[in-house]
């Protein structure tokens, strides 16, 4: 998922949990038992006062601040952490990642389903029993019809992951070709009487439970229009509902009057009565607001000149977390100058990753990256094709080699637009990249764009973006979530705002390698991860992107905030914060 704030690659913890998760997934597919990646168990029974919930701390208004809104509020369209964090408390899928702190947050558990699905037909059929009595925030009950309609809507709204996560559903290929008339009646079979839903896949997919646990697979009312709803809130089943969204001012979430806890692990009761996210302040002002207790949390990357102050004077309010994430510079492989592999390799040779790390906040907040898969992520192999002097990890840039490659490519002197988000940190990163491009022989022009639209802007081929800076935070702990989602042919949709393959990279041999790795996941996750490592090497040889660094995340909260919990899957659990 796309993210704007500070975050980092989680190393061993992610690997351990992911390996465990995927391992169980592998056995699930062939077994026909009711398990899945993440090893989820049956949900706990619902109750209005779940164990562990402390009603004494319920109430109050949680005030979040962000520089800008994050685009569409539609959970099947939006692909940013800024809103995905909020969706955790407002929308549910058939499955969910456990809303808890630590490694357990990678575990997939039943959500609107009463239990983990029964997997049969060699991993190609998933059968879910739905909970009874769950209602949307508009009072409508959740039915099997809503489930079918929601999956069809993923294609109707051209969800960013429609072509990667859900294309394996029977009938999905036709839906991708003709979204408006998407019909998944053969792929998703509802049984109203039994209150079950059966999903048929064209091939076994051990990662499928993960894909059902992300917001794009949220179950929405069947009568939700099959178009991007923009700022119009869609009713959900979570503890909160979106009451209003004004992208120029404020987003408001209120308690869902129809919500009753049915699974503490999947959708716990929240603490604040109201959650608001205010837009428009500069990040400097956001930090000051939190320091003064006028706001409770800063979403955006913290400004460089405040980090020292935050890390010393407000040490107890700064929560530094390691993550599985990456900052990278996608290069458009379909237009000049980066349609020339040598030009792309030159950029990789030229970038001083340690400079990028410094701009981001120093070595305690980021580490140089050389591979597409973050360190210690499933499939990651230590190698570095673009470091001076060689070696398995990045040590220094090689400007001479970069300049030579630019000359050899015949692209020297060309104008290159660098599209970045206009917030302080990203703009600084962009300015540095611009300087590097100028040094190696290009005429670089910096184009800062509001964070509200930059992510979709750089995806659309119509905008002819040559190079940009973006970041990627795992949707779930599997190598495919980086390599297949970001660089496969299936993720490239020319002319669309939801073409997450920003580079437009579509290399048939590498795509075949990815497919083989995905297939291999059905039998051996270890072998599959080895194959993903080889894919990573093949990708970096083509250099469609320049990995920059793996970031860490600082959550800076106000002094009144208590009960801070950090999910490694979706980061700070917003609705679990105590404001009183």
């Amino acid at each position: 998922m796309k993210h704007y704030t500070i975050a980092a690659a989680l190393a061993s913890v992610a690997l351990l949990s992911a390996t465990a998760a995927c391992g169980s997934g592998g056995s699930t597919a062939s077994g026909g038992s009711s398990s899945a990646p993440g090893g989820g168990q049956s949900s706990s029974s619902g109750s209005s006062a779940p164990a562990g919930y402390d009603p004494a701390h319920a109430g109050g208004t949680l005030h979040l601040v962000a520089n800008a809104a994050a685009g569409s509020l539609d959970p099947q369209v939006n692909y940013t952490l800024q809103y995905w964090q909020l969706y955790q408390a407002s929308y549910d899928g058939l499955l969910a990642f456990t809303k808890t702190a630590g490694d357990a947050s990678f575990t997939v558990v039943p959500d609107l389903a009463t239990a983990m699905p029964t997997v049969s037909d060699g991993g190609k059929t998933y059968t879910f029993q739905l909970h009874s009595g769950i209602k949307f925030s508009n009072g409508q009950p959740v039915t099997t019809k809503d489930v079918v309609a929601s999956f069809e809507r993923i294609f109707k709204v051209s969800s960013p992951t429609a072509g990667t996560f859900y294309v394996g559903i029977v009938g999905a290929t036709a839906c991708l070709a003709k979204p408006a008339t998407c019909d998944l009646s053969k792929g998703i079979v509802a049984d109203d009487a039994a209150n079950t839903v059966t999903i048929h896949l064209t091939a076994a997919d051990p990662e499928f439970p993960y894909k059902l646990a992300v917001p794009h697979a949220s179950i929405l009312p069947a009568d939700t229009p099959g178009k991007d709803m923009g700022t119009t809130p869609i009713p959900g089943t979570g503890a909160y509902y979106f009451a209003s969204d004004d992208p120029n001012r404020q987003l408001t979430m209120k308690r869902n009057p129809y919500f009753k806890v049915w699974s503490v692990a999947a959708e716990p009761q929240g603490y604040p009565d109201e959650i608001i996210q205010t837009f428009g302040l500069t990040v400097e002002d956001e930090v000051t607001a939190v320091e003064n207790g006028q706001a409770d949390w800063v979403y955006d990357p913290l400004p460089a000149d405040r980090l020292g102050e935050i890390g010393t004077k407000y040490e107890s309010q700064a929560h530094v977390n390691t993550l599985t994430a990456m900052f990278y510079a996608p290069m458009n492989v379909n237009i000049a100058p980066f349609n020339n592999p040598k030009a792309r390799q030159a950029v990789n040779w030229a970038i001083d990753r340690s400079a990028m790390v410094k701009i981001y906040g120093g070595t305690n907040l980021a580490a140089p990256a050389c591979t597409f898969l973050p360190p210690d992520f499933p499939g990651h192999v230590d190698f570095c094709d673009y470091t001076a002097g060689g070696g398995a990890t990045w040590t220094a840039p090689d400007l001479a080699k970069a300049k030579q490659l630019v000359q050899e490519s015949g692209t020297a002197g060309q104008t290159v637009g660098v599209v970045v988000q206009s917030d302080d940190v990203n703009k600084q990163l962009g300015e540095y990249l611009q300087s590097v491009l100028n040094q190696i022989g290009y005429k670089a022009v910096l184009k800062p764009i509001s964070p509200n639209i930059q992510f979709t802007y750089i995806q659309n081929t119509k905008n002819k973006v040559q190079i940009s800076i973006s970041s990627w935070y795992q949707d779930y702990p599997a190598a495919s979530d980086f390599l297949h989602v970001l660089l496969s042919c299936a993720s490239f949709h020319p002319g669309s705002d939801t073409s997450i393959n920003i580079s437009g990279f579509c290399d048939k041999p590498i795509d075949t390698q990815m497919d083989a790795a995905l297939t291999s996941e059905q039998t051996s996750m270890t072998q599959a991860n080895t194959m993903w490592g080889q894919v990573d090497k093949a990708v970096m040889a083509q250099a469609p992107t320049a990995p920059l660094f793996t970031p860490k995340l600082i959550d800076f909260t106000s002094s009144r905030i208590k009960h801070y919990e950090f999910s490694k899957q979706f980061y700070m659990l917003v609705d679990q914060l105590w404001v009183k």
Binding site: N364, Q428, N438
Partner: protein
Amino acid sequence: MTATSTVTTPSALAPARGPWRTALADLARDRTAIASFAILMLIVVVCLLAPVYAHYIAHTDPFQSNVSGTTVVNGKTVPVLAPTTSGLGLGVTPIGPTGDVHHYFLGADSQGRDVMARLLYGGRNSLLIGLSSALICCVAAALLGVIAGYFGGVVDTILNWFFDVIWAFPVYLLAISLSVVLLTNGLRLGPLSVQAGSLWLPILIIAAVYVPYVARPVRGQVLALRGREFIQASIGIGGSDVRILRRDVLPNIAPMVLVFLPLMAAINMLTEAALSFLSVGVQPPAASWGTIINDGLGLLYTRPTVAIAPGLMVVITAVTLNLLGDSVRSALDPKARLRGAA
């Protein structure tokens, strides 16, 4: 013996001075004007010497990032961007003012660039944009104002509509809107082609948005002139429009336009600073005082010099231009001189 002598007045002895020489003499006696002009010239000269400072004194490239670089302070080699070592060890801080002209005299910005060198280069751009746009604006405004006032009729109506349309927009909003569009796509207007990122874009945009502010009073002056006897006489004896405009109208509106020039330069320089501060003026890595203030915005807490230094330069230059403008107006306006004499 009585002697008689003829008393001659100085005015009778010296040839009569023209209005321009009189104005120049007045300016030469005006201490404020001299001081303002001297300060302005000092700023201009120092800014023109930016390459000398950067290449031969500071030995730095103010347009290249130097994030991983080092410098020398008190004989010790230190990183240009120093990491925080206390507390959680978060963040890096650019080196502050060293007072050493050879090594980051005013410190570094977030990209590790020498602020002093960028300040001088930025001054070149700010002054160039301020003065050029003022010149273009005044020339264009004079031309349009004269045409509207002299020819009247449909021409006057159309030009007035044009001025009204531009005036209908808040000037900064119009400038920002034009900048946002043109900075992305560049400007292509017939044979005129300006690339995105060129300094000509802010120059032309700023000049364009202020045209009505000068053209309106010029038009009014020409309207008044047109009814005067000497113009009517010229028309009566069959003088061509071009001759009347050249010989009778332009000399009479020139003082007004000259008075506007320094004032518009100050206003335009402030507008440039505002646009660049909002990232829609001069584009990085080029510098102007506005862009440096923007760069310093993120360092206000740790390195305020980065924002304060260019801010001071903007203030000083704008004040000197305004004072100079006032003096020029006093010198060129006979009524003002009479008031002063009274």
